[in-house]
Amino acid sequence: MASELITKYMREEHLPHIWCPGCGHGILMRDVAQAVKNLGIDQEKVCLVSGIGCASRAAGYMDFQTMHTTHGRAIAFATGVKMARPDLEVIVIAGDGDCAAIGGNHLIHAARRNIGITVIVFNNDIYGMTGGQYSPTTPTGEFGTTAPYGNIDRPFDIAVLAAAAGASYVAKGTAYHATQTIKLIENGIKHKGFALIDCAGICATYYGRKNKKGSAVDMMKFQRDNTITVEQAKSLPREEREGKFILGKLVENDFPEFTDEYQKIIDRLKEGK
């Protein structure tokens, strides 16, 4: 029998999903469902907003209030939802291109405002839906269909970017380390302000094939064998950190949350001050 994660938190009639065999997104979507389940939040109270791309298709499969919006703009749509309904748990699922290229401006400004939205990045370092073009997180020197001679762009670290922009909770997870990643997502949702969990996914079909990374299983094993914790990363010299997946919480701060601050203005005006 299917687990409750599927019967309760997925829209079974819309499965199987469109993701390729071996894609990491299925695992990450399960992690999000598990985190909401662990927190015991009513499904009606969760508004899941996504943009466009492979990751964004999660909105159609998960049984919450779901909005599948335009490319890169999920965080901006979510900002309107959160301001109109601060009581909702607003979660954004975004891919690396959606979140950090076309949507990069919305990401940094939502982080700066510290609005209570949780962004979960399904980061597979490639544009999958369009067939394997390099993204803002594709490492320099790697290949994509639009980087046939090797990528000369320097990549973003989305988590570090969000932290620098003022996000009050930032963590990094991986598809392989499900238990730890679920906990990080849980803490991100519980967190009062803007939270971002940058989750390393796996795209065997495009990224893997273009870069000779082997099968999905090989890529998963690679992720397992090349992940270090945030604490370990701190003590390693820069060269040794290169190419490693990092796992754990980077930032947690108690900054004022945006909709709370706005409510204070409304209350003050009501009192005639």
């Binding site: 508004c47 919006t69 979510a78 939802v81 301001m83 909702l88 706005y262 409304i266």
Partner: protein, 376 residues
């Protein structure tokens, strides 16, 4: 009770919007619409609503759709370049049928153009700015009083037809100051969302009742879990590649406006009963035309004007009927000839003249007078 107040068009638009029930505004500074954001920032928290200055025009458009999807009447305001940026998400609001009001205080273009100068060159952008076949409603006020009352109407039409409504202002009316009457009474009609009644349709966000053109609401964010998508979708709100369903959806999006043109369209006709020459004008241009028409009437010339208050859908039936009674039609607009194209399409039996401006200056009454006097 009526309160008489001195107000700018941009401010009156905000007051009308609040009267209509706007409780969320997201915007980005741009001349000549900035006062709408400023006034919304002052007024919304006073009535328990929310204002946010977003990082860009695209985000502002996205945010108002998000807020409206969960039940809050929402508006954004911009001008030419910002209007271009909002177009993709306007299409999303068309496709997902989420009501919202987009104010475009037109300025001279293309590109950055003449940011502080009047223009009406976004008329076609208002109709066809976003990609794909879609319907739209656009309303053009020509006085500060209308900025107030028509802003209310813009919200009402957005809710009734579940569509983005373009409030197509221009720099002339946006920055104009006039004494207007703000109604305190309850007689003003405010249309709220039509909610689903039949329990068997509650789980189908895009189910349309027989005899209706527009799906009734059951809001996202409450007891039933919906999906909203910009992809082609069926009544259940989930993406589909089914060509029949996709075709039916786009057809219905077009027809929900086409079928209700008579309810949506408003026009003003003045001095048209015995007119030989009629000037077609709208928005701020109407002020210059009005002055010219009165001057010509004083000289005994049989001149009137025809003003589409609703720009889209265009008042085709009304203009056609009028064209059968008059000899000459002159289109006056602050652009190179955009509504002129509509008039040429509709009017078959009159001489058609044109007075346009693209230099950022205002069409003067004497230019209209000259055009009328030159008609043979």
């Amino acid at each position: 009770m009526k309160n008489r107040v001195l107000m700018q068009g941009n401010e009156a638009c905000v007051e009308g919007a609040i009267k209509a029930g706007m409780r969320f505004f997201a915007g980005y500074p741009i001349t000549p619409s900035t006062e709408i954001a400023e006034q919304s920032a002052v007024r919304l928290p006073q009535v328990g609503g929310h204002f946010i200055q977003m990082e860009d025009e695209i985000a502002s458009m996205a945010a108002i759709i998000g807020a409206s999807a969960v039940g809050t009447k929402s508006m954004t305001a911009t001008s030419g370049p910002g209007f271009s940026l909002k177009q993709e998400n306007i299409g999303y609001a068309c496709m997902t049928e989420i009501p919202c009001v987009i104010v475009d205080v037109q300025r001279s273009g293309p590109s950055t153009g003449l940011p502080t100068s009047p223009s009406q060159s976004d008329v076609m952008q208002a109709r066809w700015g976003t990609h794909g076949d879609h319907s739209i409603i656009a309303i053009s006020p020509s006085s500060v009083q209308e900025c107030y009352h028509l802003a209310i109407r813009a919200f009402n039409l957005a809710e009734k037809y579940r569509t983005p409504v373009i409030f197509l202002m221009d720099e002339i009316v946006g920055h104009l100051r006039e004494g207007i009457e703000i109604d305190d009474d309850e007689n003003i009609e405010i249309i709220e969302r039509k909610m689903k009644q039949r329990p068997d349709t509650l789980h189908l966000p895009y189910h349309v009742c027989e005899g209706e053109d527009v799906p009734r609401f059951h809001l996202t964010g409450y007891d039933i879990r919906y999906n909203i998508t910009g992809l082609a979708h069926g009544a259940d709100g989930f993406p589909t590649n089914n060509n029949e369903i996709a075709g039916q959806l786009v057809t219905r999006l077009m027809q929900k406006i086409e079928h209700n043109v008579d309810d949506i369209v408003q026009v003003e006709e003045k001095y048209c009963d015995d007119a030989e020459t009629v000037i077609v004008c709208y928005g701020g241009t109407t002020r210059c035309v009005m002055s010219a028409v009165e001057e010509l009437r004083a000289k005994g010339k049989k001149v009137g004007y025809f003003r589409p208050i609703t720009i889209w859908p265009f008042p085709e039936k009304q203009l056609k009927a009028l064209s059968e009674k008059v000899k000459n039609i002159i289109v006056a607009e602050h652009n190179y000839g955009q509504i002129l194209l509509e008039v040429q399409r509709i009017v078959k039996n009159c001489k058609i003249g044109f007075v346009g401006k693209v230099d950022g200056t205002v069409i003067m009454p004497k230019e209209i007078v000259k055009a009328v006097e030159e008609v043979k």
